[in-house]
């Protein structure tokens, strides 16, 4: 009995840490509708700052707590600076575009912390006065865990009081419900947004600072927490702070008990819980309908068919690409294969997001299933390259058929998070099921057939498949099916009222996008010769998302430009020291100069040029 009670307390202490970071994320999303990837970075910086301050005032109880609060406040100020200089300028960008900016911030912070605090993990002191364990029912419980268990609810209460008993809190809640209305009533939204962002950053910093007595401060802290923080926010319901608390308790306590029975479960448990919750409660435990939508925005301009001149330019560009292996070194062909794979992947994601209106945070799942499908077809079924290349996309489409059925029942960020859960569960299975998938040692020896093994020949195979895939998806976007998808995206109600089965069409759109992502995965697998679980990991999903958003979600050319720019810049920049800082800075510059993406920026520039000439 005592043992299980102690396990419960351990779970609750973890829940408090998780709640602190998730609450800030939830508040930021609730008010500003920004999906803030940089939240994990705030958490990490909070921990590093607190480490420095705590070691400075080592030993005194007051010094410790002052350091923690001070670190959190500094992070709040950092948050304010980022909000004022970057985010404020792009609130009117298309939905989710701010996410790209926060991604740039993540990269900059990663190298910034490395430069300031060094590569080695830093283990701070234990909390003075709370540095040992007390026995409860005979079991040792660290005093600091008990303190954390108390801090969680105290912070929850403070936030509740702030939101319900102050004028500012009332305004924040009003803005969470209807920003337009609050603005119409004469409230200064800009000020409200900044304040919410500062509060959110402060809480993230506080969460990080409070980890000092529990773990070594390390450069992995940012990415290791951010996924789970999002899961907590979504399970609780976007924008609901008390929901985040309940979700944090649910995840942490379940994990504390689950590892007693099935120790391997930890890697996917939060995502399994999220998937189950979302299937039964499409807006999370405490979320309200409508909480999933981003800021209201102008409806998309309908897609226009290409005029003749553009078509000619496109054909010329394709011709140059097709001829490039004849003129350039082998390695350039290899790089171009990577570019084409990324482009097809981005275009398939764009088909889902831009044309279908379904945001995906887990599109790499289908890329990876395609790659693994092909690799396994070679290894276990003994298929040749060509048949394996057909088999992979079919596997990906089947996976999309299965997961899509659940996902299209949701919308907005909840849909996106369910795709993420699906991807993580697939990743977990691939990672864990060693006998079948090779675990993280992957599958080796998936090289092209002898006749195709030269870099140049393989370039042409990739060219045919990727460019063919991109053109096919473009064709679909202008087919009746594509028109229906765009209609559903712009107004689901109207589409339904004219008798369209919206769910079915979205489902099929999901499958199509998944199948083409699988095709990209197949080309990828044979070009690299091996597949690893990374090919369906979060990092690749995010890369795809950045390519689509950076390129411009409202144009069919967007993902092509985005993917090309992303891969080529990354290939170039990783040769430099502190390349993540440079890459992040480049992303931020693009974001600020072209808030409508690269494609949108180019269009605006062209219109300006034409205006100038006229």
């Amino acid at each position: 009995m005592g043992f299980y009670f102690a396990q419960l307390l351990t779970g609750l202490a973890n829940a408090s840490s998780l709640f602190l970071i998730a609450s800030g994320l939830s508040i930021i999303f609730g008010v500003t509708r920004i999906v803030n990837f940089a939240h994990g970075s705030f958490y990490m910086v909070g921990a590093y700052l607190a480490y420095t301050l705590v070691t400075l005032w080592s030993g005194s109880i007051l010094g410790f707590w002052v350091s923690v609060i001070l670190a959190a406040m500094i992070v709040g100020v950092i948050g304010l600076i980022i909000e004022l200089t970057i985010l404020r300028r792009i609130y009117h960008a298309p939905e989710l575009f701010q996410l790209v900016a926060t991604f740039g911030v993540v990269l900059i912070f990663q190298d910034g912390t490395l430069a300031i605090w060094g590569a080695e993990d830093l283990l701070g002191p234990r909390a003075p006065g709370l540095d040992s364990a007390v026995r409860i029912m005979g079991e040792p419980i660290p005093e600091y865990d008990l303190a954390l268990i108390a801090i969680g609810p105290v912070v929850l209460l403070a936030i509740w009081l702030l939101f319900h008993k102050t004028r500012w809190g009332v305004l924040v809640r009003a803005a969470t419900q209807d920003r337009e209305m609050v603005g119409a009533l004469g409230v200064n939204q800009a000020w409200l947004f900044s304040a919410a962002f500062v509060l959110g950053s402060f809480l993230a910093g506080l969460g990080g600072a409070l980890q000092i007595p529990r773990e070594a401060v390390s450069l992995q802290m940012d990415l290791s927490i951010i996924g789970e923080a999002f899961v907590v926010v979504v399970i609780g319901g976007m924008g609901s702070v008390s929901g985040a608390f309940v979700a944090a308790v649910l995840i942490s306590v379940l994990n504390a008990f689950a590892i007693l029975i099935f120790p391997q479960i930890s890697i996917v448990l939060p995502f399994i819980i999220m998937a189950i919750v979302l299937i039964f409660r499409p807006h999370g435990l405490f979320g309200k309908p409508g909480s999933e939508k981003g800021a209201p925005e102008e409806p998309d301009q309908p897609l226009a068919l290409m005029d003749q001149k553009s078509a000619m330019v496109l054909m010329a560009a394709l011709l140059v690409l097709a001829l490039s292996p004849l003129l350039t070194a082998d390695f350039t062909s290899v790089l171009m294969v990577d570019v084409m794979v990324a482009t097809l992947f981005a275009v398939s994601l764009h088909f889902m997001m831009g044309v279908g209106g379904m945001v995906s945070f887990g599109h790499a799942a289908y890329f990876g299933v395609g790659a693994y499908g092909a690799a396994m077809a070679v290894k276990f079924l003994g298929l040749g390259m060509i048949s394996a290349m057909l088999f992979g996309p079919v596997c990906a489409a089947m996976a999309a058929l299965f997961f899509g059925w659940f996902c299209v029942r949701l919308s907005g960020v909840y849909l996106a998070m369910l795709t993420l859960a699906a991807a993580q569960i697939l990743w977990g299975v691939t990672f864990q099921w060693q006998r079948f998938t090779g675990g993280d040692d992957g599958i080796l020896g998936v090289w092209p057939a002898k006749w195709a093994s030269s870099d140049k020949v393989y370039f042409y195979i990739a060219f045919v498949l990727c460019v063919g895939g991109i053109l096919a998806l473009r064709r679909v976007a202008f087919s009746p099916f594509g028109y229906i998808l765009r209609g559903i995206r712009d107004s689901q109600t109207r589409a339904e009222s004219i008798g369209i089965d919206t769910r079915f069409h979205q489902w099929m759109g999901f499958v199509l996008a998944g199948g083409f992502a699988g095709l990209a995965g197949v080309v990828f697998a044979f070009s690299k010769g091996s597949v690893f679980p990374d090919s369906l990991g979060i990092a690749l999903s995010i890369d795809g998302l950045i390519m689509v958003l950076l390129g411009g979600i409202h144009a069919l050319a967007g993902p092509i430009l985005g993917a090309g720019a992303f891969v080529l810049i990354e290939d170039w920049v990783t040769r430099l020291d502190y390349w993540r800082f440079i890459f992040g800075a480049i992303i931020l510059i693009v974001v600020l100069v072209a808030p409508d993406g690269i494609a949108g920026g180019i269009q605006r520039l062209l219109r300006g040029l034409k205006g100038g000439r006229a």
């Binding site: 490395l114 660290p142 773990e215 003129l327 219109r607």
Partner: protein, 404 residues
């Protein structure tokens, strides 16, 4: 709108042509070595490693190079992604004119590059990845590995663990290939030496995401006599702190893989556990002439004591230099012939040989206990365990490899 579009597309299309200029930079009096590692993903380990090989390259070049040719290392960051590592390897070989590739830390990247080496027929010296698969189940003709493998280090620990009275063991390891290999090897080696031991509990926290409190409690619940730990880095710090807070290590023996390496031991500071049996690297405490010379030069150049990564990086270059000299050519076939059974007679850790049968080097590791010297955590009562003693016989090892 065509003007800009044309310009941009034209610029994009022209990018491939930048490749044209490549391949000519290769001067006659240098030998280019390609190097790839996870510099941004795992800087705590790869930075000392980089310094190690930089020092060796500098010393060899200062002494006149190899046959009058200077060594030049082109080093790239794989960003922790196997696919990127392959692309870089391709560029190093086909564009930069590297005669071989060395490096990598993460096992999956090591495996990806080794498979690439096999496909493109180029020599790959896996400096750091520990996975047994690299030389055994997925070994190939073109891949050699320097660092003592998971199996070897686990066997070194098992030898010490067998001397303990402990019968009931619990294990905790990060849930990925390295952790799984390490537990499997330790179990089989310890059971061989002590058929009476039993393993009563296994914990598999996700890498760098350990829920240390719950894991410690789960281990405690099984009441083991001793614990075998494979966690490292941030996970290790959390595990040690939560474990000592909850008295997990009281009256229990602990055998812990890699914990004696300065990369992982130093950050623990005053909380470093006492008396754990560990593999690692006692750095400046090693007093052989070769090591002293190495350590002095390292400290003079970088102002800090060498770490495990430093010695791995340094020995990598020593091995490559020996291979180049023996081959007297940069041709892959000649290099492969030279690598077979290549012996490096003098290195800071003593002589080591690349076994012809399984391409594993016999470079060893240091086995000892954790302790505190002058308030700093360090290894005590250590001795050098020669890798050759912890490998299966060459015949057995050859049988583990796929047929060529």
């Amino acid at each position: 709108m065509n003007l800009i579009r044309r310009t941009v597309l034209g610029a994009l299309a022209a990018l491939p042509f930048t490749g044209l200029t490549a391949g000519v930079s290769l001067a006659q009096d240098t030998i280019v070595l390609g190097e790839v590692n996870s510099y941004t993903r795992l800087p705590a380990f790869t930075e000392p490693y980089k310094k190690g090989w930089q020092l060796a390259v500098e010393q060899i070049n200062a002494a006149g190079g190899i046959d009058g040719k200077q060594l030049e290392v082109i080093s790239r960051d794989d960003t922790g992604d196997p696919a990127t590592a392959i692309r870089i390897a391709e560029e190093l070989v086909s564009k930069d004119g590297a005669v071989l590739i060395f490096g990598t830390f993460l096992s999956n990247i090591g495996l990806a590059v080794s498979d690439f080496a096999k496909q493109k027929e180029v020599l790959f010296i896996a400096s750091e990845p520990l996975s047994d698969a690299i030389v055994w189940s997925k070994g190939n003709k073109f891949t050699y590995r320097l660092r003592p493998s998971t199996h070897m280090q686990a066997a070194m620990l098992a030898e010490q663990a067998a001397k303990l009275d402990a019968v009931k063991w619990a294990t905790v390891a990060p849930n990925y290939a390295y952790g799984q290999d390490a537990v499997k090897a330790f179990k089989s080696e310890l059971t061989k030496l002590r058929p009476d031991v039993e393993f009563v509990e296994e914990q598999w926290p996700p890498l760098f995401k350990i829920d240390a409190g719950s894991t410690v409690r789960a281990l405690e619940a099984s009441k083991p006599d001793a614990i075998y730990n494979v966690t490292f880095g941030g996970d290790l710090a959390k595990f040690v702190r939560e474990g000592s807070l909850r008295f997990l290590f009281e009256d229990r023996d602990v055998a812990s893989l890699l914990t004696g390496e300065p990369e992982y031991l130093d950050p623990l500071g005053a909380e470093a556990p006492e008396g754990w049996i560990v593999t690692g690297y006692p750095s400046t405490d090693i007093t052989t002439d070769e090591h002293k010379a190495f350590a002095d030069a390292y400290i003079e150049k970088f102002g800090e004591a060498p770490k495990t990564g430093s010695i791995v990086g340094y020995n990598s270059i020593l091995a490559i230099a020996a291979a180049l000299e023996k081959a007297d050519s940069t041709d892959t076939d000649a290099l492969l012939a030279a690598m077979e059974g290549l012996t490096v007679d003098s290195s800071p850790t003593g002589p080591f040989t690349f076994r012809a049968a399984d391409h594993q080097s016999t470079m060893g590791a240091y086995v000892g206990k954790t302790g505190t010297v002058d308030g700093k955590p360090s290894m005590v009562d250590w001795s050098y365990a020669d890798g050759a003693d912890y490998l299966p016989s060459e015949d057995d090892a050859a049988a583990l490899r796929p047929a060529e």
